[in-house]
Amino acid sequence: MKHIISALVENKPGVLAHVAGMFAARAFNIDSLVVGRTEDPALSRMTIVVVGDDRVVEQVRKQLAKIVPVVKVQDFVGQPVVARDLMLISISAPAEKRPEIISLIETFKGKVVDIGQKFVMVEISGPEAKIEGFIEMCRPYGIKSVARTGTIAMPRQSKVSGE
C-alpha cells in the first residue's frame, strides 16, 4: 500500500543525505521524495511516498522520527489529503496533430509553456493518477522527455472536497 509521509526537518546540510541514507540502509523503497522550504526558514518539508505493508511503513515512520534533525513525522494514510504532482512534459507535435494535442491538454487543464516547430512543452499538475493518465494519452504522439516533482501533500481541513 502507498503511504504519503510528511516530515518536517531542520534546514541543515546533511539532512537529506541522512534521510536518503536511512532508506537505503534499511532497504525501504522510496516512490518519490520531495524537499522544499516552508514558511519558516529554519524548517523544510519532505514529502515521501513509500510503498509497503503497515509494519514496514510503521518502521519507516519511526526510523525517520529517530533522525535527530527530523522534527515531526506524519503518515497521511487513512486521512483525506490533497496530493499533487507537477510535471513538465515535452510532446512531439507536428502541425497536423497539433489541434488534437491542444484539446487533450485543455481537457487535462494543462498549460502550454513552450512551443516549437515539432514539439510542445506542457505544464500540468494534479493528483498522480491524472498525471499518469495524461502521460498515457500522450504516448501515441511520442514523448520527448518528462520531468516530475513527485508528490506533495497536505491533509484536508474541511470535510468537503473541492475536486
Binding site: 526537518v9 531542520e10 541543515k12 546540510p13 546533511g14 543525505a17 541522512h18 541514507g21 540502509a25 509494519r55 510503521e58 518502521q59 519511526k62 526510523q63 522520527a65 529517530k66 533522525i67 535527530v68 534533525p69 527530523v70 522534527v71 515531526k72
Partner: protein, 575 residues
Amino acid sequence: MPKKRSSAKSAGKSITKTGAQIIVDTLIEQGVETMFGYPGGVVLPLFDKLYDAPIRFIVPRHEQGGCHMADGFARATGKVGVIVVTSGPGACNLVTGLATAMMDSVPIVALTGQVRTELIGNDAFQEADTTGITRPVTKYNSIVKDVKELARAIREAFHIASTGRPGPVLIDIPVDIQVAKCSDDDGTELKLPGYKIMRGGHARQISSAAAAINASERPVLYVGGGVISANASEELRALAEKAHIPVTMTLLGLGSYDQSKAESLDMLGMHGTAYANYAVQECDLLIAVGARFDDRVTGKVKTFAPHAKIVHIDIDPASISKNVHVDIPVVGDAKHILGELAKEVEYGERKAWFSRIAGWKKKHPLGYDRNSSVIKPQYVIEQVCEQTGGEAIITTGVGQNQMWAAQFYRFHRARQLISSGGLGTMGYGLPAAIGAQVGRPDATVIDIDGDHSFNMTLTELRTAVEYELPIKVCILNNGYMGMVRQWQELFYNKRYSKTYLANPEYAEVAEALGAAGIMVEKKADVPKAIRKMLAEKKPCVVDFRVEREENVWPMVPAGASISEMDGLDILESMA
C-alpha cells in the same frame, strides 16, 4: 529539547577565545576528566590547548583502538567516552569503533579535525567526507562551520550521546574554526527541535503490563543492554523478586541481574542455555526490557516465544515491533518504568513454572569435559571466575572466547561484562579493557580473548604499558579462528578454509612490549598462572594453549527455533 545549563562559563560575551580553547573549555564544562585521542595536522591547534589542559589524555597506537578505549571507558563507568582524532585517515580509522558503539548503544563523543573550510570538497590533503562516511554509524553527526556554533555543537553532542538510547555522536571541526577567534558564542541553549526523548512511559501501558504479569502463569523477563545503560539493575531485581519472575539476559544484558540468584536463567539465544531457551519458548508472557529481539536471540522469528503475550519496554520507539509483534509496548526509561511496574505487581507463586524450569536446569546445565587432560577453554574461564570471586570486569574478543566468557563467568553486577555484541568486532577486547581500566582504576580488568581477535589490536598492549594500566589478557589460544572453524566443522564438512594462522609466542611479544607474559600448556599449571597474573602489577598476557577443536554448545543452528539446539546430547554425555 532546549535546555539551559548554568555551568556554561564559555558563554561569556566579553572574553575572546579561539575555537580550540572553546573546545577544551566546553569539554571541561561537560565534566570530561579523561579522554582518548591521536594527533595530526588539522588538530594541531586543539592539541596545543590540550597540552596543559586539566584532562587526562590517553594516546592509543591506532585510532580504532582509541575509539574502543573510549567505548570501554563509557561502558565501565556510564560516562561519555571522548575521542579526538585528525581528519582523513584518523577519522576513517574511527569507523569500526563508532559502528561498534552504535550497535551497542554506547555514548561516545568523537571530535574529528577537518581541512580548512575553504578547501572542503577539493580533495585536499587528508580530506575525507567524515560526516558522510560516519553518518550511518553515529546517532548524530555534524560539521561546525562557524566558530560561534562550536560550543553549542559540543554541548549538543554530549546531550544526544548520553540521553535517550545512547550512541556515538561525531562533530567535525575544520582547522580554521579551531584558530578562529570568538567573543560571543551562540549561547548555551541547545537547538534540537527534532530530538525528543520519551522518559515517562505511558501510565495506562504500565498498568496493562502489570495486569499481564499478575495474570501470567509462566512469565519470563528477557533483558538486554538497555537495562544497563539505564542503570536499572536495582529496579529489575526488585521487580523480579516482588512478582517472582525468572530472568534471562542477552549477551549485553549479562550483569544486569545477579547470576547467582535462583531466578537467573542466564543467557538466551544462539549459544544461550537450554533452560533459558526452553523457558522463552514455553512462557505465556515475555517481558522484554531494553532488548531488541536481535536475530542471535530469536533464532527463527516466526516461532519465537510462540505462546507468549509480549510486553516490550524500551526507550527507542523504533525498536518496538521491529522484528517481533509486541502486544503491550511501553516506551520510556527502563529505570522509571520498572520502578512503576513494581508498584503494581503482585507476588505469584508459579510453582509449576519454577519447577519446570528447575527440571530443565537440572537436565541441561552448561558444561564441558572436566576430565580432559588438555586445557579446556571453559576451565580457564571458570578458574578466572573463581579466583576473582566473580568480581572482575571482563572484556572479550569475538568468537568462541566471547561465548565461553558469557557462559562460564558468573556476573553479579551491571557493567561487569564489556563485549561487542551487535557488531561482533574482533580486536575489541584489549582496547576496551584499557578504556575500562582507565575509568575504573581500582577494578581488576581482564580481557578474555581469542588469539586472532587479540592479533587485530595487540599493538595497544604498549598503550597499557605506557600508562601503567595493569590489565590482564587471557588468550584462549586455539590457533584457529575458532568460531568460524566450528561452522566449517559443522556445516562445511570440516574444510577449514583459511581459518588457521600460526601465532607468535604471545608471552614473548608481551615481554617485548614491556608487559608481563606467561605461557601455559599444562592443565595443572592453569590455577597457578592465573594467580600469578592477578598478582602482577604490570599489564599481563597469559597464553593458554587450549583444546584446539573445542566447540561452543549448545548451539541453535541458523534458521532454527531457539528450542532446537544442537549439542545437548554432547553436554549430557559430559555431565
